[in-house]
């Protein structure tokens, strides 16, 4: 394909993606990205014969974040994720009509054998999106977009079409611990709060994913393991009625049926992130008052460390997180 044709294809593809709902679209070179990925979630462990990755994002309806209803937010998040999958299929179809191949890495599915010698999934989409120049990865390993911060969901497709890659952004959107709001409110305290003084965001951004899952996937697979363990380790006699009548059981049914609660179930770090054009109208809403409890972020810079405090979410929301032992507790009643 000539450079001119490749440039036209890229331009047309981006226009199509935007018309179909993508809020940002960027192109990644498979070869260049392959060389940068430090773990096994590489393009080459995902598929062969592809030259470019088309990365994109779409925001969750902003109105969802001016509500107090976490399941409603989760429901809206899943609808956006469904839309990401629709966009993947439409982009592949668009490329195939022009003689190219495309494949959609699953945005949500992981490799659940959790074997560190193997990839944990196909592509790690947040890094793909950062490489595509449509945003950057923040302190908590969430992808941040310029318009909507991390109040977005992301997707990508791999294609054999060769297109000029976009350049990654030159500056991080996330201010790191100098902001620190996400770390202060994170219910399971999964976000870095103690880093080397003067270090750059890229040196310390990380996430305790197991902890995060207690909030974000609080009726998900780890929570199920922990609840079963809580029953097995309970010193009380097993009482099937007590376990089955726990609200957790019906919620488990619903989380499998609708995904609400299984993924995308905690939004505390999204509420307080000040990045994005949507933040200003959002934080002024009464529903968002008090997301960052008093006294707010406290910085402690001494001994070569930059530490921030932990407060957790507002008191009225504490009880909805961490449902890891409800079934065991049901036996105590």
């Amino acid at each position: 394909m000539s450079d001119l044709k490749a440039a036209q294809l890229k331009s047309d593809l981006k226009a199509f993606a935007a018309e179909r709902g993508a809020d940002g679209v960027g192109i990644v070179s498979v070869a260049a990205f392959e060389a940068k990925v430090p773990n096994l979630q590489k393009p080459s462990s995902t598929g062969l014969g592809y030259h470019s990755i088309v990365a994109f994002y779409r925001h969750v309806l902003t109105g969802a974040f001016v509500t107090r209803h976490v399941p409603l937010q989760s429901h809206n998040g899943h609808l956006t994720m469904d839309d990401i999958e629709r966009l993947q299929m439409e982009l592949i179809d668009w490329l195939e009509r022009r003689g190219h191949l495309g494949v959609a890495p699953p945005p949500e599915a992981a490799f659940l054998d959790l074997d560190p010698r193997k990839p944990m999934g196909t592509l790690d989409l947040k890094w793909v999106c950062e490489e595509a120049g449509i945003g950057t990865v923040g302190l908590n390993l969430n992808f941040l977009s310029p318009k909507y911060a991390s109040r977005v969901y992301i997707g990508c497709i791999m294609t054999d079409a060769e297109m000029e890659p976009d350049a990654p952004m030159e500056r991080d959107l996330c201010p790191g611990v100098s902001c620190g709001r996400c770390g202060v409110v994170c219910p399971p305290d999964a976000i870095p709060r103690d880093v080397a003084l003067g270090a750059s965001l890229r040196e310390y951004r990380t996430l305790n994913k197991r902890q995060c899952s207690l909030g974000a996937e609080r009726i998900g697979i780890r929570s199920i393991h922990l609840n079963i363990e809580s029953v097995l380790n309970s010193g009380n006699p097993f009482d099937a009625d007590a376990v089955l009548e726990s609200p957790y059981m019906r919620d488990w049914w619903q989380s499998v049926n609708s995904k609400v609660g299984a993924f995308a179930a905690c939004f505390e770090c999204l509420y307080v992130c000040p990045v994005g054009d949507d933040y200003k109208p959002m934080y002024k809403a009464p529903e968002r008052v008090g997301d960052l409890p008093r006294p707010g972020v406290k910085h402690d810079k001494q001994d070569g460390r930059h530490r921030i405090n932990w407060l957790g979410p507002p008191a009225e929301r504490v009880k909805i997180f961490n449902r890891d032992s409800e079934l065991g507790k049901a036996l105590e009643k």
Partner: protein
């Protein structure tokens, strides 16, 4: 950016595939609903609730198998979620804020069962109340919402938005004929969940109701409550009986409802919807051969001084079983 009008939004809702759209004020709903259903507990920024209706395809009335019906209505619920999302994005492209309201979600940390989602998956209590408040329909004897166009054969979804739009007014006249003049839904209900008896001449408002726990058994035959009940019975059983329960059709149906039918798990029985004579579609719906067997000699009433009762007959599939 020019302000959106109600006509703009109606036109876009129709383009997204909705048959009905109503505009309800969340403040007015807050004043009328019990605390647990008030939209003000969700948001005070989003002051208008767009109530979106889509009718059950008339052809579903010809289906014999429960799973066929559940699949069709589950698909309808899914299509409505997608269409609601598209309308929400359109509103946001035009400068508004929007959030889709889950129609079938049950907050089990606040409710002990999914009974609030009865009858028949039409939508949450909030959405049904908003449909009435915005003049899309009126309450039926069975607590379903009856619309002039589709009777109760319509599902409701919702979008909350910060747009300040004038709310629509409720309909002036009841659409439901009531127990005394019709009674078909009560007579056919397989769970006898709809009022079967009333004081002679009583107003519809004084009679209507639903035994939601009873309705649930048919409306969500393999939903979350059935899931708990089935496994409670399984754990309580012993020996051969326990083995039979584990290896039963119910165990398999529970899995299928959960993973395959999905939204359809909430859209089981729809007998009361299909026999309702209200709606422009009623003639087409009643034309199906087996629907003509619903009441071959009409509804039987038993009258006593000061009261009237409907003879329950159950659905024809159960009569012939």
């Amino acid at each position: 950016m020019p302000a959106l009008t109600k006509d703009d939004i109606r036109a876009q809702a129709q383009a997204c595939g909705f048959d009905l759209i109503g505009f309800a004020s969340t403040e007015r709903l807050d004043a009328r609903l019990p605390a647990e259903d008030r939209p003000g507990t969700i948001s005070t920024t989003l002051k208008t609730l767009l109530v979106l209706g889509k009718h059950i395809a008339n052809g579903v009335s010809g289906a014999l198998d429960r799973r066929q019906k559940q699949f069709a209505c589950g698909q309808l619920a899914q299509v409505m979620e997608t269409a609601g999302r598209e309308l929400g994005y359109w509103l946001e492209r035009n400068g508004a804020m929007a959030a889709t309201l889950p129609a079938l979600f049950v907050d089990f940390t606040r409710e002990l069962s999914a009974a609030g989602n009865t009858p028949a998956g039409q939508g949450s209590r909030l959405l049904r109340a908003a449909a009435v408040e915005s003049g899309l329909g009126t309450w039926g004897l069975n607590n379903a919402v009856l619309t002039p166009q589709y009777g109760p054969r319509v599902y409701f979804g919702g979008l909350l938005t910060n747009l300040a739009l004038e709310h629509d007014s409720p309909l002036a006249e009841e659409l439901c004929l009531g127990l005394e003049a019709c009674g078909r839904c009560a007579a056919i209900c397989p769970e006898k969940a709809i009022p079967l008896r009333a004081a002679a001449g009583a107003d519809l408002a004084a009679v209507r109701g639903l035994d939601a726990a009873a309705c649930l058994k048919s409306a969500h035959p393999f939903g979350p409550d059935a899931f708990v009940d089935h496994f409670r019975a399984t754990f309580a059983a012993r020996g051969r009986e326990q083995q039979q329960l584990i290896d039963s059709a119910s165990t398999r149906e529970l899995w299928q409802g959960l993973a395959v039918l999905r939204q359809g798990a909430f859209t089981g029985c729809m007998e009361c919807l299909q026999v309702c004579p209200v709606g422009e579609d009623a003639t087409a719906v009643q034309a199906s051969p087996h629907r003509r067997d619903d009441f071959p000699t009409g509804v039987t009433f038993r009258r006593a001084p000061g009261s009237i009762a409907v003879e329950p007959v159950g659905p024809q599939w159960r009569r012939h079983a």
